[in-house]
Symmetry: C2
Subunit: 100 residues, 2 copies
Amino acid sequence: MGFRALADPTRRNILYMLAKDEMTIAEVADNFQMTRAAVKKHLAILHDGDLITVRTSGRTRVNALNPDGLRRVVDWFSYFDAFWDDHLSALKSEIEKDIQ
Amino acid sequence: MGFRALADPTRRNILYMLAKDEMTIAEVADNFQMTRAAVKKHLAILHDGDLITVRTSGRTRVNALNPDGLRRVVDWFSYFDAFWDDHLSALKSEIEKDIQ
DNA sequence: CTTTCGTGATACCTTTTGGTATTATTTTAA
DNA sequence: TTAAAATAATACCAAAAGGTATCACGAAAG
């Protein structure tokens, strides 16, 4: 799953940046103090986690957000939907009890 | 953020288990082959990430899911809502272009 | 009170992670 | 065709992660 890729704040920032616009490695690296090699590693992990796509354009590589991969991560949380509903209805019952 | 806590599959499994019912450390550990000490470490990380709550009951410690912490993680993804919408509407435009 | 059961806390080990530095490789521009 | 720019690849290092083993502690059952 892509959760491992999301564990690092640098990678989460990269995703937020790519949500604005796709970027080359150099462009991403300009926004951080670390070396390009380090940024490239982060991008590789994001790619492994299927959270970004990479396409070659001449001598540059353009990184873009992969909505499908992100959606898969978000979907993992749907398991808790019932849990939230339960707790919400429990809260609702408490409130209704208070009112009466 | 709780993302670091979600990076490990064992911890994600624990959360799924706690969604069914709250459990003591021993009960959680019974579902894994690792030692209780290892499970306790995972629970500590989940607690640090604010994804579970822990309450003492006699000589046992009961771990329960923390919906607020989970919700905070899910909310992180709302940043991409516009992104998804954009791509969906782009797709919609493509389809409409095809139809006409 | 003593024993026992569930945890807490350390110490330690191995693997992974996040980073740098350095050296190719490849594409474009002069 | 040579030089420069963007990236790839590799080796290396320190710190963190994930695990075990061990011992200490507190509640509860006899």
